[in-house]
């Protein structure tokens, strides 16, 4: 075995995870540089991996495969390294060790998950992703992020529980933990676990709950990994599953309508993720080579443009300290560069020609049409119009134009611009040179995005969406409201559950505790002078009978001189005792 061959059996995830372990001992200046170097190193390793490699070892009676390489895992591996690098640039100014380590653990475990060849390895990385991502949610360090992070963990632990239960059931039935196409009863439990991470409606509410509460840089990483790993696992395990077609179509429209209602810009983008995931989930359900290619291509470009959009939203939050549409407006004057970069992300996600959405999302829509899923095709087209409406029109209009709120905007670090710039560049490059993206897709692709029909269709939809937006401009106002979603079902009863299971037992415990302490205090008081206690109470009883006021208090501490009896009484008692003992000895 040559050195290269040995290196090619090392999972690239290890690079990031070992890097995360090394980061704490590095100096504050060195950390961002090392953070940037690690994804580059991992990318170099991934580029050199041979498709078809499967490096595994036996662990007890299990055959673990931490590195399984094929075109599907490679495509996700490339984009995870890219967004880690862009995110690292964006977070270059960050001094906070914890966030850097968490982001590396998160990115590393996401890489580990897409290269995992067996279900147990997948599960380990799946849960490790939760560790990194939950820290990033908490890194928002607000009152809201504390609660949102806790809910995020609880929901994902439940999802992970389904996944593990499914894996164990699968193992007990088939004796195999290989991760390939899944079927049979246990696969439904595994699907439930995947669905939670893929934010399939109705188990999606953790996403718009947690992502907007994360730190400025944390939300960029969050937007990339968890959900796209889930899309990868859905492709691997459940391609062609009919129910996913409908689940995806519902997600696409649901996300678009909800995104339009939100007030927080990062929450708009978070619902946008659900809408975009809907396209991918539907494509996985359709399951034809074109659809799977579309899902992978869309996931690839989605990670980049959604990362860019979250970076721009973060830049607005960083500069103004605000993220609510009701508080923003007129920022084009103070943040023109961010506006341009944001618009590149927005037209990419909306699928404008020459941008990445146009060449990736359309594959899924055509796969729906070619598969004769007419209703799904129309719903996805509707969601496309909605995507342009909330990301490309409403958000930029209300953030950068509308009423100028004269907000003071501080300057943002150059690293943030660099991260946004590179992400924007990648969106444009994919749009102009789609063949580069198509060449890494799992199936041989002869798909042509730039046809007259496709251009006509796209221009028609986008133009008339824009026209109606213009028509309704007076009605487009942000609402300072919370919008209920499925998390109502676990957040609303939370107060009641808290009262019944936490507050009530706590109150009972406190009362009992107080009572016992009171009793103990009283007993210790009595024990300090028991004779005085008896004498005082006897005196009080006597005085009460004689209708006299209670006697004066006895001293708190026993004093032997005060209660010593007379010598005569002592002799009398002793003699009585002797007489009793003497008399008793006669009794036989």
């Amino acid at each position: 075995m040559t050195l290269t061959e040995i290196i090619n059996t090392i999972p690239p995830a290890l690079v990031l995870l070992i890097g995360a372990a090394l980061l704490p001992v590095l100096s504050v200046r060195l950390r961002p540089l090392v953070f940037l170097a690690l994804p580059v190193l991992a990318l170099l390793m991934i580029v050199n991996l041979e498709p078809g490699t499967a490096a595994g070892f036996a662990f007890m009676n299990l055959e673990l495969v931490p590195l399984r390489v094929d075109s599907l895992s490679l495509a996700f591996g490339y984009v995870f390294c890219l967004i880690s690098f862009f995110g690292g640039l964006y977070a270059f100014h960050l001094k906070e060790k914890g966030q850097q380590i968490a982001a590396l653990i998160y990115a590393g475990s996401a890489l580990g998950a897409v290269f995992a060849g067996d279900l147990f390895t997948l599960f380990v990385f799946w849960e490790l992703m939760l560790v990194g991502s939950a820290y990033l949610v908490w890194a928002g360090r607000t009152r809201h992020s504390a609660g949102a992070g806790m809910r995020y963990i609880i929901v994902h632990l439940a999802g992970g529980g389904f996944l593990l239960a499914g894996i164990l059931w699968q193992f007990s039935q088939t004796g195999s933990i290989e991760f390939s196409h899944l079927e049979g009863a246990p696969s439904w439990l595994i699907l439930a676990g995947f669905a939670v991470n893929a934010a399939v409606v109705p188990v999606h509410a953790w996403l718009p709950d947690a992502y907007p509460e994360s730190s400025v840089t944390g939300s960029v990483f969050l937007s990339a990994f968890t959900t796209k790993v889930a899309i990868y696992t859905l492709i691997r395990g459940f391609e062609g599953l009919e129910i996913l077609v409908w689940a995806g179509a519902v997600m696409a429209v649901y996300g678009a309508v909800y995104a339009f209602m939100q007030n927080d810009i990062r929450r708009v983008l978070a619902y946008g993720i659900i809408s975009q995931l809907g396209f991918m989930v539907a494509a996985v359900g359709i399951g034809t080579p074109l659809a799977i290619n579309g899902a992978v291509a869309h996931a690839f470009s989605h990670i980049l443009y959604k990362g860019l959009l979250f970076m721009c939203a973060g830049a607005v939050l960083f500069a103004t300290g605000r993220s609510r549409l009701t508080e923003l407006g007129g920022l084009w004057r103070s943040m023109p560069a961010v506006l341009v970069l944001y618009m590149i992300g927005a037209v990419s996600i909306s699928g404008f020609p020459l941008f990445s959405g146009f060449v990736s999302k359309s594959m899924e829509i055509y796969a729906a049409e070619a598969g004769h899923h007419t209703a799904v095709f129309l719903l996805l087209q509707l969601a496309s119009a909605g995507t342009f409406l909330y990301t490309g029109l409403k958000l930029p209009y209300l953030i950068f134009f509308a009423r100028d709120k004269k907000l003071p905007a501080s300057s943002i670090p150059r690293g943030m611009y660099a991260g946004m710039g590179l992400a924007a560049l990648s969106c444009i490059l994919i749009g102009i040179f789609p063949q580069a993206l198509y060449s890494i897709l799992p199936f041989q692709a002869d798909y042509q995005p730039y046809t007259a029909a496709h251009l006509w269709e796209t221009v028609s939809i986008l133009l008339f969406t824009g026209l109606v937006f213009w028509l309704m401009l007076d009605k487009i106002k942000p609402w300072p409201h919370a919008i209920l979603d499925f998390d109502w079902f676990y957040r609303r009863p939370a107060g009641l559950v808290y009262r019944v299971f936490v507050e009530t037992p706590a109150r009972v415990f406190t009362r009992t505790n107080d009572g016992v302490m009171l009793l103990a205090g009283w007993l210790s008081g009595v024990a300090a002078n028991p004779v005085g206690f008896i004498i005082w109470h006897a005196g009080r009883l006597k005085n009460w009978i004689h209708k006299l006021p209670p006697p004066a208090a006895e001293p708190a501490v026993f004093d032997p001189n005060r209660y010593r009896g007379s010598l005569g009484a002592m002799v009398l008692v002793l003699m009585a005792a002797f007489i009793i003992v003497g008399l008793a000895s006669f009794i036989r």
């Binding site: 309508v257 049409e369 007419t374 909605g386 133009l463 979603d485 609303r492």
Partner: protein, 75 residues
């Protein structure tokens, strides 16, 4: 509602529909391919539908004051 956007929209819709009729630009094997300017109609009405649906859902049903979930937990 202002008059200009309505006028511009209607003119453009007419242009798109007639262009579709003349050059058969909409492709597909579904019924929609026969509707002139189908995707222009879909984009416009879809946008309208989403704005309306969001407005109705938001104002009539799903809106709560901002600290709705915090109200009974912070004590």
């Amino acid at each position: 509602m202002k008059k200009t956007p309505i006028f511009v929209s209607l003119v453009l819709l007419a242009v798109f529909m007639s262009a579709d009729v003349m050059f058969h630009l909409t492709h597909g094997d579904g019924w929609w391919a026969a509707v002139p300017g189908f995707f222009a109609l879909l984009g416009g009405s879809g946008c309208l539908a989403i704005i309306t649906a969001a407005w109705l859902l938001g104002h009539l049903w799903l809106s709560r004051y901002e600290d709705y979930y915090d109200a009974d937990r912070d004590n």
